[in-house]
Subunit: 163 residues, 2 copies
DNA sequence: TCTGAAAGTATAGGCGA
DNA sequence: TCGCCTATACTTTCAGA
């Protein structure tokens, strides 16, 4: 996980905005040949810097328009954590699980279609044995939701000169 | 925003797993011609069901390995909301802004490289005029982080028969 | 729906640090 | 050895019939 060079930062910045940009266009952008860019992309994937390419879907269009954040507490018994993780990961509506500092153990993000489905999901989550307490925050409206972005720095062709 | 038919659900399920899958491969998967699939994809983009294609980047590799959720309260003056939105959106580290039910007004998700940068970001956020109160929850470890997924239902070739 | 031209991608072989 | 190059063969896309 060494720091990325400028070329890789440009490639990542570009692909995190448009994941279908062609290798050819990327090569022209960074001033390298296509095979060189292909090699870099392969390496970024192999190294786990790029974890995948995805279509981003509007949640409301696919029955996931209702979001909530749920703070969880659970007993500190050995094995409880693994059991909780497994149970939560099997819930398709649980999109994020974060271990957090503070009184709560986990903060999770849930997406479902309706408040009724949210109620059902919470029932299932509360039924997970080790979990002792949940505290839900329902999202009324999502104002911004954007992916991790990469700062590309100055464009490649300004690298030299231009004091 | 009518409900998606089975073919579109398969296309979305596939592209949300592999956003670089070729139209040809998708066409073979759903049993339609390439132009037909191309038309469907164009329409899904036009209709806003697919909002884009992106490379997913490992946050730690690009200096965004530290996450926090920050609950915000702000004065209910007219105009305050718009000012807060604008100020938050200009912070590159603010990845999500959710308007929530409950005592807090907003719940936002922040990603930065280090806890020092987190402190700086919080200082800037607290300096936004209308904001009266912040309550941060620092993420110690992210256990799961996955995109909205689409249930494809039964595979296309099982549509008929097979009682 | 088909088909050929254009665009994009993969692979092989070679060069220089 | 590694990263990059050129050249070429192959695949995919797209527009017109």
């Amino acid at each position: 996980m060494q720091p990325l060079d400028r070329v890789n930062r440009v490639l990542l910045a570009e692909l995190s905005r448009d994941g279908r940009k062609t290798v050819r266009a990327l090569a022209a952008l960074v001033g390298l040949s296509e095979p060189a860019v292909r090699d870099r992309l392969d390496k970024l994937s192999r190294d786990g810097v790029v974890t995948g390419y995805r279509a981003v879907v509007e949640p409301r269009a696919v029955g996931a328009g209702t979001a909530a954040f749920v703070a969880l507490r659970f007993s500190p018994e050995p094995g409880a954590r693994a059991a909780v993780n497994t149970a939560l990961e099997h819930e398709a509506c649980v999109l994020e699980i974060h271990e957090v500092a503070g009184e709560d153990c986990y903060l999770i993000k849930v997406r479902v279609g309706t408040t009724g489905e949210l109620a059902d999901a919470l029932d299932r989550i509360r039924a997970i044995p080790a979990i002792s307490h949940t505290n839900s925050t329902v999202v009324l409206r999502t104002i911004l939701e954007r992916p991790v972005t990469v700062q590309s720095g100055r464009p490649i062709d300004e690298q030299v000169g231009n004091s």
